[in-house]
């Protein structure tokens, strides 16, 4: 049943990279339990605006859990406490009247806070730019059915390809490692026959860039898997390690 609830929010406010940042407390009332978490923040922002204060900066776009642009740490959990749910799909019916909710940005050495809850995740793009692709130009592709891919392999590749690049895995990891993200990309392409040729080179390049961007190492904490809104499995990290070792062993030119 729809109810209206009152909440206390402790929201991280930070005016740019130079600012140290602090929590500020806001009371919100008459929040419908049908609202999404971000709609609740919209309501608060409308109030702040009318009070002459500056609204809270936060990212969001599709608000249906697929673009990966939203994401904050809610009560210590990236995207909040619900399993396999992005912040935009977290609804207020999972909170109780009188709750206090702490909201802070994804924190990692590789993610700079731009303002309030908004962070720069450009490092994830840099990792893909270093090799997360199949090198094929538009125009020369053979007929699509000329490359058979078994249904099972296609499904496994799709499981890995679901990653939305939100960075929750990084925020969840005690080492702020991007291994789940990188491994999802590496496995997706390495599983498919089209992507096998470059598999080793790809794994090497992406892991090196990940390190260079300031992401930490993987120490098998499995927090990433637990918090991933798309349920990406750490099996992918094992596949990445395999590709990475192969690349190390068989590398001729390095």
């Amino acid at each position: 049943m729809t109810q209206n609830i009152n909440l206390t929010l402790k929201v991280w406010r930070q005016n740019g990279q130079q600012d140290k940042g602090r929590f500020e407390t806001y009371e919100v009332s008459d929040i419908s339990t049908d609202m999404s978490f971000l709609e609740m923040l919209d309501v608060l922002n409308e109030t702040l605006t009318l009070e002459g204060k500056e609204p809270i900066a936060f990212d969001s776009d599709c608000r249906e859990g697929i673009c990966g642009q939203c994401g904050s740490v809610v009560n210590g959990r990236p995207h909040g406490q619900e399993k396999k749910t992005t912040l935009c799909q977290l609804h207020m019916r999972h909170f109780k009247n009188g709750d206090t909710i702490a909201i802070e940005p994804f924190r990692a050495r590789a993610f700079k806070v731009l303002k309030d809850l908004m962070v720069d995740r450009g490092a994830l793009d840099k990792v893909i730019q270093s090799g997360g692709f199949i090198s094929v130009n538009a125009g020369g592709a053979p007929d699509a059915n000329a490359i058979p891919v078994s249904g099972e392999i296609a499904e496994r590749a799709m499981d890995a390809a679901q990653c939305i690049g939100c960075g929750a895995c990084v925020a969840a990891c005690p080492n702020a490692s991007a291994m789940l993200f990188v491994s999802a990309n590496v496995s997706h392409l390495a599983l498919l026959p089209q992507g096998k040729l470059e598999a080793a080179k790809r794994a090497l390049a992406m892991v090196r860039t990940m390190d260079a961007c300031g992401f930490g190492n993987c120490s098998n904490e499995r927090e990433c898997e637990a918090e991933c809104p798309k349920g990406i499995s750490i099996i992918n990290i094992a596949r990445l390690n395999r590709e990475f070792f192969k690349a190390g062993f068989f590398s001729h030119n390095e």
Binding site: D34, G132, A157, M158, L189
Partner: protein, 637 residues
Amino acid sequence: MQLDGNIPSGPIQDKWDKHCFDLKLVNPANKRKYDIIVVGTGLAGGSAAATLAELGYNVKNFCIQDSPRRAHSIAAQGGINAAKNYQNDGDSIWRLFYDTVKGGDFRAREANVYRLAQISNNIIDQCVAQGVPFAREYGGQLANRSFGGAQVSRTFYARGQTGQQLLLGAYRSLCRQIGAGKVEMFPRRELLDVVLVQDQARGIVTRNLVTGEIEKYAADAVVLATGGYGNVFFLSTNAMNSNVTAAFRAYRKGAFFANPCFTQIHPTCIPVHGTYQSKLTLMSESLRNDGRVWVPKTPGDKRNPSEIPESDRDYYLERKYPSFGNLVPRDVASRNAKEQCDMGKGVGETGLAVYLDFADAIRRDGRDVIERKYGNLFEMYEKITGDNPYETPMMIYPAVHYTMGGLWVDYNLMTTVPGLFALGEANFSDHGANRLGASALMQGLADGYFIIPYTIGGYLAGNSLDKVSTDHPAFRESESKVKEMTDTLLSINGKRTVDDFHKELGHIMWEYCGMARNNEGLEKARGMIQELREEFWKNVRVPGLEKDVNQSLERAGRVADFLEFSELMIIDALNRQESCGGHFNEAYQTDENEARRDDENYSYVAAWESKGVGEEPVLHKEDLEFENVKLTQRSYK
């Protein structure tokens, strides 16, 4: 000015090949001398930027999101059409062409649609080569499914996330070119003006959404792939940041805007549930394969659905359209849901919803089968509404989903401004008055991978373009105009928020320019919009600073443009005194309440020329010639 579509002569099958041969070429060594700006990184923009860079051009690519991977193409669910005929069920390029022209209610350009159908096959090949994990049969061949408006299975898909996978494919190609230094990527930038030098598009002015700086970029050609304008309705299935600003500011600079009143309302979305709601969520069309749509027979019947016996239910689509039943096309299903709710038979707290009931299907096939087919959609529905659709019927209602109108382009995808191109949903070209399911992805990628790479070369090779720098007075003029608007918005300091204005505009548009329209309502809406716009410029409150992250300021600029653009939609709807596809004027319907076209008087593209703020736009007509398909009245009885 006489509109020239530049459609090649000759038989329709040969037009594109002939045109590719006739287009002038830029030799490989010279391509690196040209700079091209691409705005947008969705299926059209991302694929265009990547492909132009592969050819050797220097590309600057811009997007408003924090990463090019987030463009709203990513949210497309169902699939992408192609005339591969892998199912051996009688598909062909000709059939895809025919279905698309007919589905668009005969308001699209034949030559463009035929080319789209031809290219559809290359797209699938390209995407597979890139590693898009399309669904496969056990034997390894690609799987297909059926979609509305077609009697063959030609839709390729990747679960319910086809848009995501195709977009990430284009994104990976784009990343490869960024890594290679051929594309310079500018995320978190918003286009605020297109700069013309000697009547040619030579650059853009953007706002850096992190620093607030106004930035200027010069190039030899500008490509807009900035999506549709569904958010003029405030609530739509579009992403929060989708907007009309880039297209509208191009219109103000001389690019004609075509058929702005052609909007698509999708029948199966999760209904509105409160005034705070920020967006609407689509439930895939495929659900209508097994779900039955109904409302109570008696208006005002507020009983729980499980307490309403069969005899008190009206399965109105099955009753009215016995041969198509629940699978009538989108526009018909949407209008009928509205009709039932207008009669007071709507369900749920707001009375603006109808039931989509899976009880019979679950009884017939078992819960397991239904779960395998629609599990992820049922889960998403439960997440949003808190109701379990296995136990109680879904509630659905139509919502704004796609806009067929857009910047007018010729066969080369060039607008009426030389050197300014428009791709994907941002142009008007291929869907006429109604888009078929699984055709938006096809068009975006066709434009980006396979059309613009050829036609932009023809433009560059055919024009002598002097080098232009951002020091040119035209850039400075643009910059100061943009700054002036920002200053004004920040200084009004009124009493209403930007969203408050946007919501009110959305209500006006939905009420009077939505699923059904009439002249009186349109006239009324026009007055209301003018008043609202006037109030906006006196009473909007935009907090924060210019040189900082300022999301209120971003939205204020977009809403200011929507407040202008919405009036153009009304003007277009009033001009088109017929019904066709997504444009349904109540005065023009058949005895069976279907859209009644007037081919004699309205078989044209309405392209509007801006005469400046506060001036009436001027209509230019591009007559549509149908040489290959026969115009008929659609019927689904």
